[in-house]
Subunit: 208 residues, 3 copies
């Protein structure tokens, strides 16, 4: 399996898991089926859409409508599956970690392929990874996951930086991609399990 | 009156009614005149702007600044009219239904004219119809109308699907457009009046 | 110093001050370092990004990655500075006023350089000035500054209109730019200090 295929399947996987996090978030707010599909769609395609607009590339789901089908069918499946079988809500956090990892690396890869500089690659990757979830949380009226106390965008940032280092070291891109995905996913899971955070910004004294 | 003209006047009508829903939402939060114009503008042009960006078309109001004048003058008119005459707030929901219907069909039409596939046409239409109102509600700190329990995006989805079917059946496009607008508007009004909703997504049991 | 340079340095200045308002807003919510950088970034580049997308221009920070470095380093500096020295939170409002003034005029300038019409120039300028702060406030779960009662977008509107008038009067563009920045900044500071607002939209009577 070559890089293009690897990225393609990872992308579809990320689409499915982010759609599921959207659906699970919708379920907490008791949205109806169509509202849930809308949230699942926004979560799954939001980050990549912004990435493509900013990089001035054709929006991926306009070019390849398989992404739309993937979101709709995985949402419908989970919608009905959930009526006969229990879904642990904690799963949302793990799926979100996987989506974050996959989309970050794919976003970075897309900017690399355009020959952009390292800071732009990092911005693009982090954006692709986090924006869908941020829109999901804002629409659901919740504080975005990214701004709660555990490591989140930081994991994406570290993983993409690793990808850049590995590629500059001439590691096969396939391997670098897989390693970076695993690092982001592991960092995020580790942060969730052990409640790890970065230091908080706190001015020593502030007068209002 | 041919199709281009019909769509043009419908588009201006949709712009006026969405601007009014923005203004009425702003009035509940006691925004000042300029803040109200900003909300009216975002509500009226938000959906179409995102549509044009995603379809990689020139943004409609940059090409034709009449839309900006229409928003500003209808907002000013309503602003001063409201000081001498009573405006029923319930009107917001009916105007919103009309805006949803008109913008959904126009968005779908624009994607059809570009020869895009059916799922993209549906996505584009729904997005054009709902995004302005979603941004309005998010900015006002309210749960977006689209995610409350009555049929909303669903009406847009059904109307656009009908449009696709009628066009595939070689009905005159003019007629298909008018029928679809009427179906979306009626569905939404019917849902408001009788409080109709779709089944809610509810996992049978979820452990936190 | 010619116009291009003046605008360039003003733009970097606006980037720094908006990044700081983002960081200060993040501090109130106790975000971690990376979350704070994300908010600072969104606040500083959000308005210009939307402007470039809508005007169909290359996004400025993709072309010139100095903006990314400026945000990251000024955020890091303030982050550590705040641990040893007091930062008055009220500063947020003054910095925000300066960012509003600078970005509004730069946004308007960019649309003028493309030969667009006056209403589009005003829309573009106001958007460049206010969108970053609006996203910052929405992400932090607060009512956007722009919709609170003092003059905000109005100041941007007045300053850009002045810029248009001065340029039509053949005043040197440099001077017109500096004057407009000063007018927007002064209007906003004056509104903060004396709590000045526009009339509020209030229907005389509304039935629910």
């Amino acid at each position: 399996m070559n890089l293009v295929q690897t990225l393609y399947y990872l992308d579809l996987l990320g689409t499915v898991v982010f759609a599921m996090t959207g659906l699970l978030a919708a379920s907490r707010k008791q949205l109806d089926l169509f509202g849930a599909i809308v949230i699942a769609m926004v979560t799954a395609v939001g980050g990549g859409t912004l990435r493509d607009l900013i990089l001035d590339q054709p929006v991926f789901w306009v070019e390849h409508n398989i992404y739309i089908y993937v979101v709709v069918f995985s949402t419908l499946f989970l919608f009905f599956y959930a009526r006969i079988k229990e879904i642990p809500v904690k799963l949302l956090l793990y799926l979100d970690a996987l989506g974050l990892a996959v989309f970050s690396v794919i976003g970075a890869q897309k900017a690399m392929a355009l020959g952009l500089s390292d800071p732009i690659i990092i911005m693009t990757g982090v954006m692709t990874g986090v924006v869908g979830g941020v829109i999901r949380d804002v629409l659901m009226g919740e504080v975005p996951l990214i701004f709660r106390k555990e490591i989140y965008a930081t994991a994406s940032f570290i993983g993409i930086s690793l990808l850049l280092v590995l590629v500059h070291l001439n590691l096969p891109v396939d391997l670098a991609v897989i390693l970076s995905v695993m690092v982001i996913f592991s960092l995020r899971i580790w942060a969730i399990l052990f409640n790890i955070g970065l230091p908080v910004f706190q001015p020593i004294n502030s007068q209002d």
